[in-house]
Symmetry: C2
Subunit: 331 residues, 2 copies
């Protein structure tokens, strides 16, 4: 069992090496990290979750071996940290990850059958906030709420320098705050969860809604819904497509309101935006900042900063998962 | 400065005596408590905040003296714990409490001018959750979210056995989650905060709204808005007034949705309902439980309990503030 509280001030030895893995709904990223948080080498492969967890873990073990095979990796890799959605940190297993379509998976045991090292599991949001607090934009801060804007919407919370994870280690499921009762259907089985509006899939759904409610011309109208991605929409927005821009604006306003609520709930020093959707840049972030400013409690207006990750996609999670694995060994 | 993290497992000596004070928008309650959490004696007086903080503190000091003057209080009172809205726990002052109409007040220093004992200040929601976890319905639990249903709506959060209070010690301002963008005006200056719907004042505002939208007959239609109170509405609901009942039902549905969101955010073992409004009983709580069940994430349905305080009004806050004061002395 993984202890729920993890002191992030506990700095690992600089010569320790560790593998950090970030299992995402689309891609899995992994890297070798030293104790200073330097990512010595990294790689990425498609998650292919539809083929089942056993096949996936075999591929992962193989990718780890290949990552470690070539120079200049010197020193022994002591452990592996895995960041994944839907981790039950108390049980140390992955439970029904909506974006992977698996049941309960003991990924630690499965990986150890291929690769005989200690393996530590961490929720992806927790790993990302750990990475950002240790090595990223939130370095040195003690009270941080991180929002992951990927296929879905997740979170990672550090309060007083420690991860806050709740009873089952599934805390911070901020994507499943219901913001629109009776609203959009969510993969969780309910309606109106904020992740159905604020996520890579949410922005695509918003585009479809806007096609219905507005008469704005758009190249999106010629693309089947199933082929619309946040990346395509970003390209269109840059090309001047007004409907694509409006979809990001609507999404940003939702996000800004969410951030204002998170400020009231957590009273953090900083809110960190993380994940693929932040690449939409000002199309998403300008309305986000504006809606945050309009909706945040007066006394947080000057005190709470919104920070945007500067690490590459998945990098904070790799760093966080790796750091976690090192700390678990040394604790 | 009060340290932000307070280990609630630290049990005070049973023979220690302390005064706990709960400053509410309407009444101030205070009591003498021993280290076992027994409330030896308590009293209450109107807060009369309009006369200013100096006058109020003089009255409070006087009430403390009277409380301690009569037998059977034996043993020395070692310190005073004060629970109050809008406490900035980092600075140890009260900052712009909306329901009291004061500015920044150094209540600790002011009280010590009248009464020379260590005084420790705590947010009212934090005091209540501390009281419930130590002596009330949440006794022995480590992950608890408490919702205070009074004039406004507040919260107190215990995660992994410790108070979670954020950067300024103002965390857990769950009353200021915006649930209806552009909705009801809030005393905080914004619109649509959940406390404008779920609170003693919220239920009265809902009754007024229902008078407009429904044709239901009701004795509420004969009472000026300014004279409607949650207590009056409760009496009417018991007498069969359908509009009063509907107002509690609407309020309960809002509350149930809030609790479902808090479960997703915090992953607690229990959500505790605390404060005057819980006296509305099934009129409020039946729709609350139903809306919670309809809106909570599937995997929290069985694991998260909703507990209703069994302590008298303000008692958990008195106990929590007192316990806090004892622990601060002994830490």
């Amino acid at each position: 069992m993984i202890p729920i509280r993890q002191n992030i001030a506990n700095v690992p030895r600089p010569d320790s090496l560790v593998v950090g893995v970030d299992i995402g709904g689309t891609n899995t990223a992994l890297g070798v990290i030293d104790g200073r948080g330097t990512l010595l080498r990294s790689t990425e492969f498609p998650t292919t979750s539809a083929e089942g967890p056993a096949k996936f873990v075999r591929t992962l073990a193989n990718e780890i071996q290949m990552l470690l095979a070539a120079p200049p990796i010197s020193g022994d890799v002591r452990s592996i940290g895995i960041a994944c959605p839907a981790v039950n940190a108390r049980k140390g297993v992955v439970e029904n990850p909506a974006n992977l379509g698996w049941g309960t998976v003991d990924i630690v045991k499965m990986l150890q059958e291929h690769y005989d090292r200690p393996v530590f599991l961490l929720n992806d949001g927790d790993a990302a906030v750990l990475g950002e607090v240790r090595f990223g934009v939130a370095r040195g801060l003690s009270n941080v709420v991180l929002v992951t804007l990927g296929t879905g919407l997740g979170g990672g919370i550090v309060m007083d320098g420690e991860l806050v994870r709740g009873t089952n280690g599934t805390g911070g499921e901020i994507g499943h705050i219901i913001v629109a009762p009776g609203g959009r259907q969510c993969a969780c089985g309910r309606r109106g969860c904020v992740e159905t509006y604020v996520s890579a899939t949410g922005v695509c759904r918003t585009a479809a809604e806007l096609m219905a409610t507005h008469l704005l011309p758009s190249r999106l109208r010629a693309i089947p819904f199933v082929e619309v991605t946040a990346l395509k929409m970003y390209d269109l927005a840059r090309d001047g497509d007004e409907l694509a821009r409006l979809a990001f604006e609507v999404t940003g306003r939702h996000l800004g309101r969410l951030l204002a609520n998170l400020a009231a709930i957590y009273d953090p020093e900083a809110l960190v935006l993380y994940g693929g959707l932040v690449h939409a840049g000002p199309y998403l972030l300008d309305p986000t900042f504006q809606a945050f400013h309009e909706n945040v409690l007066e006394h947080y207006k000057s005190s709470v900063r919104i920070l945007v990750t500067r690490l590459n996609d998945g990098q904070a999670s790799i760093l966080g998962a790796g750091t976690h694995a090192l700390q678990m060994l040394e604790s």
